[in-house]
């Protein structure tokens, strides 16, 4: 902790020297400073010493026991409440309009590290000038939400002339800031047809008069994204209470985090997605770790299991990300990449692991838990990791 930081609590040098001499971590030292600073900045050294001793005692008392099998404890602490969760996909708490996978399926999805979640969604925060005005917020929405042709006008087929006719809606065009000629251009580019546009009508048809081709064109036309991001099918604006006061927040159905962060008006520092792989690609592995913790905690909270200690979730997130990329928990991830042949064989796809091990001439050193259960040796965890030797108290080693 820097000097300036301490000064803000206004404690005396005497207090400071006592506290700095202790073996406490910075977070606790800071809290002692704050607490003393609030009461009496010139508390005498004796009293400070007492505070420090007591805090140290409690700190030591509250630390995890060395050799504690924290992994198993964390796994149980997350797995056990799984039995109490629902399988139902219910509505998102605050936003009734967007369905989000919840409960056990979502937890499984996270732990599986699926490439795309079942219901991808983003929460997009806006920069100040966009966040307070509905008009401005909508500007951002049109850049995010995929606009397809049906949102812009009516499509009809003229079978007599073998033409597809689009009657564009003037108001929507203006609202979404797109012109008929732009639309015509996009259609030409995407479908390779020649278009004719007059006023708000765009027309085109197949090269050869064919009824099938005509319908085919209409189908294709519907798929074209004229504006916005292809993966995002819907955006809902809501006025929400945040630390910056009341502001507009966008909730999306579908996720394309990378593209959204680039859009003007989007506050990239606060926006979120529930797709952890996108977080990893855009913001890096530490952000992905944070996202995994947050998403898991959120899922548990939704189910009324908010009492699960975050530290358990941290451990799961850490093991999923500790190799620098997101690994799933299961056959294709952590369990499949274990060093021990026996551990892998005991998990899933037993025979293949054994055959591969034979080919590569692998040697199992029997360090882990599962291997030692298999060969019937004590496990090197907890009390199995310490050796006691007979000795005498106080005497020298000889």
């Amino acid at each position: 902790m820097t000097k300036t930081n301490i000064d803000t609590f206004g404690v005396s040098d005497g207090v400071q020297s006592v506290v700095e001499d202790s073996g406490l971590p910075p977070r606790l030292r800071e809290r002692i400073y704050r607490s003393i600073g609030e009461r009496d900045a010139d508390t005498d050294a004796d009293a400070v010493e007492r505070v420090v001793r007591r805090v140290e005692a409690e700190y030591e008392d509250n630390r995890v026991e060395p050799l504690e099998p924290v992994g198993t404890v964390s796994a149980q602490s997350i797995g056990e409440p799984g039995t109490q969760m629902t399988m139902n996909t219910f509505h998102y708490a605050g936003v009734a309009e967007i369905d989000v996978t919840q409960g056990l399926p979502r937890l499984i999805e996270l732990v599986d590290a699926r490439k795309t979640p079942d219901t991808p969604t983003m929460k997009v925060y806006l920069e100040e000038e966009y966040a307070t005005e509905r008009e401005k917020a909508h500007e951002v929405i049109w850049k995010i939400e995929a606009t397809r042709i049906l949102a812009l006008g009516d499509v009809s087929t003229n079978v007599a002339d073998m033409r597809v006719q689009i009657d564009l809606n003037e108001d929507t065009l203006q609202q979404r800031d797109i012109t008929p000629s732009e639309i015509a251009e996009i259609i030409e580019g995407a479908m390779g047809v020649d278009t004719v546009h007059t006023g708000n009508r765009v027309e085109f048809g197949p090269d050869q008069p064919s009824y099938r081709d005509l319908l085919q064109l209409v189908e294709e036309l519907r798929e074209i994204v004229f504006k916005g991001l292809e993966d995002i099918s819907r955006v809902v604006v809501r006025k929400e209470e945040t630390d910056r006061g009341e502001e507009f927040v966008l909730h999306t159905e579908g996720s394309d985090f990378g593209s959204v962060l680039e859009i003007e008006g989007v506050d990239a520092t606060r926006s979120k997605t529930n797709n952890i792989h996108e977080v990893y690609e855009e913001l890096g592995i530490e952000a992905a770790r944070e996202a995994i913790i947050e998403e898991m905690m959120h899922t548990l909270e939704e189910q009324g299991l908010d009492d699960v200690n975050v530290r358990h979730l941290m451990l799961v997130a850490d093991i999923m990300t500790s190799r620098g990329e997101i690994e799933s928990i299961g056959r294709h991830g952590i369990a499949g990449s274990k060093q021990s042949v026996l551990a892998r064989a005991a998990y899933e796809v037993t025979v293949n692991h054994l055959l591969d091990a034979a080919i590569h001439g692998e040697v199992d050193d029997l360090n882990g838990v599962i291997e030692n259960v298999i060969v019937g040796k004590p496990i090197k965890l907890g009390t199995g990791d310490v050796d006691l030797r007979m000795g005498s108290i106080g005497g020298s080693a000889d």
Partner: protein, 995 residues
């Protein structure tokens, strides 16, 4: 007699086996397909040859001389008539065929490429990556080479026909080569000069007669001749031919692959030569691995593996006979294929595309890989899951008189399950006494083991002599150095478990209390950690067999050490159900008790003197209040402030309950504030005493007041019923109105919803509100002393919704989170018109459970209920798998002395557990800070300490007295550490005598 010195396995090396090694380790060659002769003796060199091990008791193994049980069995071998492919390696074989030269067998990579892949491989190995990826990349590169960079041989495409056939796709001379040549020699449109045979002969440098022979189809040109003709005539004379590679060809091919090349592919040449993937010798598993069973009628039934081996030997024999007889190639190939099939299914009988080998009954055979695979396979069932001795299982039942640390064990179990005690000078007397009691008297002994390792069964006849009573042979008397397997007695530590073992509190150590009757007896407060109830649940008990295990169990696993749950850092053991109702009745409204009553309430606890009375009633009789009585159980220096489930503020100052109702929020399991505080501030022993005494007091209290719930408790006055009917009637009208608006097309949709969805939401809301207000009306009409209300309010059991459903209105039933809308086309039941959107038609139950449901309502209710059942069933399997995966992934992680979290290979996963090294057990997950610094500062600066000792006690880390046995304390309270309140001196616990 002691067995051989146990050996600890240090590491396990995996590899392929050299066929020579198979022969060397083989106890016998197996040549006969038969197993037993007519007299029932195993045939020599047959599949049941006695040299392969013994399974029948009493026989001696002809290889090692041991008897069944101690002989592990010995492998034999079958010499295969022709090599066959090992099914497990078909993909690798294909890869090797594609990546090596067909002529010189060298890897089709240039030196530079080889270097590169060797480097890649090394790096992946160091980084613990997937070796197969590198191998695949190397093969992909090698396949690109059309010509061997080493010998220049042209390479052909390899086709693999699953499972075990390989073809080389070669260009060979077509059958109609002469016609093609003739056509090519004719003049064409562009080139009108015909080529004459002499010209061709000149151009190709061949004899004219040879050319003529070729043209007439009498002679097939050799390869160089063909190439010359093709060049001269600019014609293609070849066609694709699938040349089958026989396993023997492949073996020859692989034998020539140099070791260095094999290494580049990530194959360990020392332990696994590629040619060993083609089997020439088949090991025959020992009979102990495929025991035959004798059926009741005396017939022998052979194991699936034996059946398969019989098939293999039969075909092998036929193959050899046919080959010797010089049978045509076609027949030989057929037999070869058949042999391949049998060897394939011997190893894996679930290969796709191959019909599985079946038993006579049509059941597919369980062959080698099926034995290993899956939940019931060798790995998960036999190796990861161990069976144990010294365990017992029976039904559990509640017993409020045993401490939560204890378990009641029936005598029959206690005499059957034993504990090994090593006899020393100090326990010699005890040991002899146990032995003297024999196997049937209760604290007796079942076995003794002499220092020379001989085990003797203690019987009624020899027990006196073994104990040195009467005429005894001095060498046959239990003495120092012996081991005695004595019965369980009170105070022994055992491990107790209930499945599913979802968290560590599912396995805890208890102290034994031997009791009559047949069940295990549990204190009801330990139900939450085990998730146990008494509707027929069974639990398992394990007796520990050595001192280390017993010490560990006492210190780490005893119930009182597990009061805090690591999931949320608060107590998981505490008052439940009737205990909560009891404390609620005792403290709510602070009732008064006279001396007799007060002492009766406290009789299950260690409190035997009452404090000064709180006052006197109108009759002049002294009284004590409920709070005073409850306060007697609290530690003197306890300060707690909390909010009760009922909603009032609970204040405890200096161990006295000043205000508030004691209920689930304060003494309950799952975070009862008082229990949690005592556990954290006063340690597990005090917390155990407190929980025991609260439970005991609560039971006395609930018995004092009396507590029962009947159907009349759910009835409400007539007026209230009418009010409820009105509310529901109104809701129906509101729904009708909504439907009318909708049908008139006037409904406005909510943002992001369709009109239909909006209607559904609004109807659901209206009906939900109706149920809620019906519930409120019912609630208003309940007396405060209604037992159901007491239970709901105190958090003992049930909630107000349950009450509403019982008395007022069950409410809307849901399937898939929507009103019920399935069944018939456009309607739920045939009672309704299509497209009827009304409340009735979609599963609104307006009656209460007490009134009873209409048939339609009952049906809808059953629909909703069924979904719940299905959900539960699906959930248990899903969450079980999630748990298995999580445990598998995290099981190796361990906190280290330096605060890091590492796996067993020392890979760091976290530099500090949970970012601050705080134990999730000690600190509740709901608090922001692990240490109350402000509180400490306050105390240091404000509190006057009585003396230095007091101060020191406050400042230093609290070292708590170790308490290892509740039983020992109770017998000798003086020795039991510092705690004054020892366990409840209840009737069952006192008179236990060892002799």
């Amino acid at each position: 007699m002691y067995e051989e010195t146990p050996k600890a396995i240090k590491s396990i090396q995996f590899g392929l086996m050299n066929p020579e090694e198979y022969r060397e380790m083989s106890a016998t060659k197996v040549i006969t397909a038969d197993t037993y002769d007519d007299d029932g003796f195993p045939i020599d060199m047959g599949l049941m040859d006695p040299r392969l091990g013994v399974i029948d008791p009493g026989l001696e193994c002809r290889t090692c001389g041991k008897h069944s049980g101690s002989c592990n069995g010995h492998f034999g071998h079958i010499e295969l008539a022709a090599p066959v492919i090992h099914v497990g390696f078909t993909k690798l074989i294909r890869r090797l065929l594609r990546g090596t030269c067909r002529n010189c067998s060298k890897l089709l990579l240039t030196e530079a490429e080889r270097e590169e892949f060797t480097g890649d491989l090394e790096r992946t190995r160091e980084l613990d990556g997937e070796l197969n990826e590198v191998t695949k990349a190397a093969i992909r590169q090698a396949r690109k080479a059309e010509i061997c960079p080493h010998c220049g041989e042209e390479q052909f495409e390899i086709n693999h026909e699953k499972p075990t056939t390989y073809y080389e796709v070669q260009e060979v001379l077509t059958g109609d080569y002469s016609e093609r040549m003739a056509v090519a020699m004719q003049p064409t449109e562009e080139d009108d000069t015909a080529i004459t045979p002499p010209e061709l002969a000149e151009e190709t440098g061949m004899d004219l007669s040879r050319i003529n022979q070729i043209l007439s189809g009498e002679f097939r040109p050799a390869e160089d001749q063909r190439n010359a003709i093709e060049r001269a005539l600019d014609v293609d004379l070849t066609e694709e031919d699938m040349n089958k590679l026989m396993p023997s060809d492949i073996r020859d091919w692989f034998e020539a692959i140099p070791d260095e090349d094999v290494r580049v592919l990530g194959i360990d040449a020392e332990s696994s030569r590629p040619e060993w993937m083609i089997l020439t010798v088949l090991p025959v598993p020992p009979v102990t691995a495929r025991p035959s069973i004798t059926l009741d009628n005396g017939q022998r039934s052979e194991d699936d593996l034996t059946h398969k081996l019989v098939d293999i030997i039969r075909i092998n024999q036929r193959f050899m006979e046919n080959r010797e007889a010089g049978a045509p190639q076609l027949i030989i190939e057929d037999l070869w294929e058949l042999l391949q099939y049998h060897v394939t299914t011997f190893m894996d009988n679930e290969i796709s595309g191959t019909p599985p080998a079946r038993h006579r009954s049509g059941r597919p055979l369980k062959t080698l890989s099926q034995r290993l695979k899956g939940k019931d396979g060798r790995f998960r069932n036999s190796l990861s899951g161990k069976r144990v001795n010294f365990s017992a299982r029976t039904v559990i039942s509640p017993d409020p008189t045993v401490s939560l640390n204890e378990v009641g064990v029936r005598e029959r179990v206690a005499t059957e399950m034993t504990i090994t005690m090593n006899v020393t000078e100090r326990n010699l007397e005890d040991a002899r006494r146990y032995v003297a009691n024999g196997p049937n008297g209760h604290p007796g002994a079942n076995y003794v083991r002499r220092p020379d390792g001989r085990r003797l069964k203690v019987t009624e006849k020899n027990c006196q002599a073994l104990a040195g009573e009467g005429e005894a042979d001095a060498a046959q008397v239990v003495d120092v150095g012996w081991e005695v397997n004595r019965h369980l007695v009170d105070g022994d530590i055992v491990i107790f478990n209930r499945q599913p073992s979802l968290h560590r509190m599912s396995i805890m150590a208890h102290e034994v209390v031997v009791m009559p009757y047949k069940t295990f007896r549990l204190n009801t407060t330990v139900c939450p950690p085990y998730n146990a109830d008494f509707d027929g649940d069974e639990m398992n008990m394990h007796a520990l067999q050595n001192e280390e295990a017993r010490a560990e169990a006492r210190v780490l696993m005893r119930v009182q050490e597990q009061i805090l749950s690591p999931r949320f850092g608060e107590n998981i053991i505490g008052a439940i159900q009737d205990h909560v109702s009891g404390t609620y009745l005792l403290t709510h409204g602070n009732p008064q008790f006279n001396e007799t009553q007060a002492l009766d309430l406290l009789r299950g606890t260690s409190i035997d003197t009452l404090p000064e009375p709180d006052g006197t009633d109108e009759d002049g009789e002294a009284y004590w209040t409920g709070r005073t009585i409850f306060s007697l159980l609290l530690p003197d220096d306890l300060d707690v402030e909390a909010t009760s489930s009922a909603g009032d503020d609970v204040i405890i100052e200096n161990g006295t309950l000043v205000q508030g109702t004691i209920d689930d929020a304060t003494v309950g399991a799952f975070g009862g504030e008082i229990v949690d505080t005592i556990m954290k501030a006063h340690g597990p022993t005090r917390a155990r005493v407190f929980i025991n005494e609260v439970a005991s007091l609560a039971m006395r209290s609930i018995m004092h007041f009396g507590f029962s719930l009947g159907i009349d408790n759910e009835s409400i006055p007539e007026e209230a019923s009418e009010q409820i009917d009105e509310v529901i009637e109104n809701a129906y009208e509101r729904v009708e109105e909504l439907i009318r608006t909708y049908e008139a097309g006037e409904m406005e949709s909510l943002p992001g919803r369709t009109v239909d969805e909006t209607l559904e939401m609004k109807i659901s809301q209206a009906l939900g509100r109706a149920r809620d207000s019906a519930g409120e009306i019912a609630e208003e009409n309940f007396e405060e002393d209604n037992p159901a209300v007491i239970m709901a309010e105190s958090g003992a059991r049930g909630n107000l919704l349950n009450l509403t459903q019982m008395t007022a209105c069950v409410g809307q039933q849901h399937v898939r989170g929507e009103r019920i809308n399935r069944g018939y086309e456009d309607r739920t039941l045939s009672h309704f018109k299509p497209h009827d959107l009304s409340a009735d038609a979609h599963g609104f139950v307006e009656n209460s459970y007490r009134e009873g449901l209409e048939p339609r309502e009952f049906f809808f209710h059953a629909m909703g209920g069924r979904e719940g059942l299905v959900d539960t069933a699906v959930r248990t399997s899903k969450s079980g798998y999630l748990q298995r995966r999580l445990i598998n992934a995290l099981s190796e992680l361990e906190a280290q002395y330096d605060g890091t979290v590492r796996d067993t290979n020392d890979r760091v996963v976290q530099f500090e557990f949970g970012e601050d090294s705080t134990s999730p057990v000690r600190v509740s997950s709901s608090v922001d800070h692990d240490i109350d610094v402000d509180g400490i500062v306050d105390r240091v600066l404000d509190t006057e300490f009585d003396d230095d000792a007091d101060l020191e006690a406050f400042l230093d880390e609290r070292t708590r007295p170790t308490n290892l046995s509740e039983y020992a304390d109770r017998r000798d309270p003086a020795a039991g550490g510092t705690i004054t309140a020892t366990g409840a001196p209840s009737a069952e616990a006192v008179e236990v005598d060892d002799d």
